[in-house]
Amino acid sequence: MSGFVAAVGRWRVRSVIWHVGALAVLAVILYPVVWVIGGSFKPGDQIVGSLQLLPTDPITDNYRRLSDGIADVPISTFFTNSLLLAVGSVIGVLFSCSLAAYAFARIRFAGRNALFTLMISTLLLPFQVLIIPQYILFQKLDLINTYVPLLLGKYLAADAFFVFLMVQFMRGLPRELDEAARLDGCGHLRIYWNIVLPLCRPALITSAIFTFIWSWNDFIGPLLYLNEPDKYTVSMGLKLFIDQDSVADYGGMVAMSMVALLPVLLFFLAFQRYLVEGAATSGLKG
């Protein structure tokens, strides 16, 4: 009996030590996130240099100043632009990548393996090789300072990662489903739309959230293609702050960082299960 008690005691102590350790690591990891939340409610002169993480008297001045806008552009404009691009990207990725994934996972056609290898190898391609010719292409087509360069790739399944993710998922669906549907006289379009897509919901949700977040965080795309502040995204609005070499308004900058992070953090809190699982499956079965 006493041995049992001792064993339980040892198990408990170990468990407590484990949790204390894990929480300590977590505190270090999440420090920057807490810092930006705290900093956005501090007066500007107490943000950098202060060792205090949270404000003593929280103020909302930083946010209030933001609502006046940056460079004569109201902050809601940046927000709307980012949102428009993110939602437009999500629609494009879901549509084009699932079509391509269905072909790779469920249709047997000549040249499939070669094309699949080609698709996977684009994952390894550095984007720097493409940006110069792509820029020239869009410049010749007079599409600079429009959202077309930022969206076109999403509608043409250029994100191999999502195609791959969906292929992996679709391969896991039982083949008998297709065969039964074919017996009932369904073609590929109906099998895709009525059977495979509904069953792929987890993969689609994962892709949608990743697309939203990556589009929201994107910096190099808007930096290359947008040159009028009223077309800018939230990332570019934030860039307007850091471009002033000597930052006068630290409070506004941190508040703006917080505004830029907020949708991503909310999305993460709501959908973390899908995000973590989606990231995990991308590494397996490959």
């Binding site: 047997r108 390894l124 073609g187 070499d245 992070l261 995000l275 590494g283 397996l284």
Partner: protein
């Protein structure tokens, strides 16, 4: 649009061929019909792939050819490209700032990637046993991977590691006076490296998935044989997760070579691009500067191909050495 078929059980047939004995009697099509079926499947395949095909031609393969051509030209976006042969590449090798950018990037990749993977594996080992709150920890550690490359986190990093800011001050409390971080040419790059290590969550999640697939009988057997913790890690865990390690290593290396946003933001994109003494002049930023600020598109294209060559070389070496240290289950049988 898509060919509908009333013929049964033909979905798994390879194009053009028949699979004798497999198809159900009565539903089995004649060879000619099978061939037609194959053609129909091929047509359906390409119809579904149309957006992807257009994309890969217009946005990937086409641009690759163009950038290869531009690498041998002098082009400023307005006058037509002028063929100059290998001059861009010769100029690269004579360009001190190009060498700087190569060095900065190599240091970033070679120090950051191992540290990041080590952190990812360590935390994955910490989280692999089922415990209360495991899902919470897993998600919380993953979070930085989603936001790490954003401008916001770059700004935060810049503020936290600013000279005389929190990190600087706390370190001097412990008697370690670095004397500035992002303002110091020696410490600016380590600041950027911490940012990439901080995003260990993505490889960690992949490690976790790999660790969960290691059969526990192996550990039990090893424990009975008296193998200690470290021995079990080296002789069981590492070989068993080596495919996942390989995948993570490949992905992180390729990813790190292309670092851009965080370096630009931490360096400060005013007059001080490249950071103090160009200590944050990463390859991607120098390429951007040459191509889009100085409008030396041919030169930037040559840079892009050198990067591609570098990444290709690293990938090839990894794949070559993989036989030596990556163990796939099929090999064992």
């Amino acid at each position: 649009m898509t060919p509908t078929t009333t013929r049964a059980a033909d979905g798994v047939r390879p194009p053009g061929g028949t699979t004798p004995g497999k198809a159900t009697p009565g539903a089995r099509p004649a060879p000619a019909a099978g061939r037609r079926q194959g053609r129909r499947e091929t047509l359906a395949g390409y119809l579904f792939l149309t957006p992807w095909c257009v994309g890969i031609l217009l946005l990937t393969l086409g641009p690759m050819l163009v950038s290869l051509y531009l690498a041998f030209t002098d082009y400023n976006l307005f006058d037509s490209p002028r063929w100059i042969g290998f001059k861009n590449f010769q100029d690269l090798f004579a360009d001190d700032r190009w060498w700087t950018s190569v060095q900065v990037t190599l240091k970033y990749v070679l120090i950051g990637t191992p540290l990041k993977l080590a952190a990812a594996l360590a935390v994955a080992l910490l989280l692999v046993k089922p415990r209360k709150g495991q899902g919470f920890y897993r998600s919380a550690f993953y979070a930085p991977s989603l936001i790490g490359a954003s401008v916001s986190i770059g700004v935060v990093w810049r503020a936290i590691f600013n000279d005389n800011a929190i990190v600087d001050k706390s370190m001097s409390l412990f008697g370690w006076d670095v004397g500035g971080w992002i303002g110091d040419p020696d410490w600016a790059l380590p600041t950027l490296v911490t940012l990439t290590v901080w995003q260990f969550g993505a490889p960690m999640v992949i490690f976790l998935a790999g660790l969960k697939q290691v059969p526990s009988e192996l550990y039990e057997a090893a424990e009975m044989d008296g193998a200690g913790r470290w021995r079990r890690f080296r002789s069981i865990t590492l070989p068993m997760i080596s495919p996942v390690l390989f995948f993570n290593l490949l992905l992180e290396l390729i990813h790190s070579f292309q670092v851009f946003t965080s370096a630009v933001v931490i360096a400060g994109s005013g007059t001080n691009t490249g950071g103090p003494g160009d200590s944050l002049l990463v390859y991607g930023w120098y390429l951007y500067e040459q191509g889009f600020r100085n409008l030396r598109m041919g030169y930037a294209a040559a840079m892009a191909w050198m990067l591609m060559l570098g990444i290709g070389l690293v990938t090839a070496v990894l794949f070559k050495t993989q036989r030596g240290w990556v163990h796939y289950e099929e090999d064992a049988r």
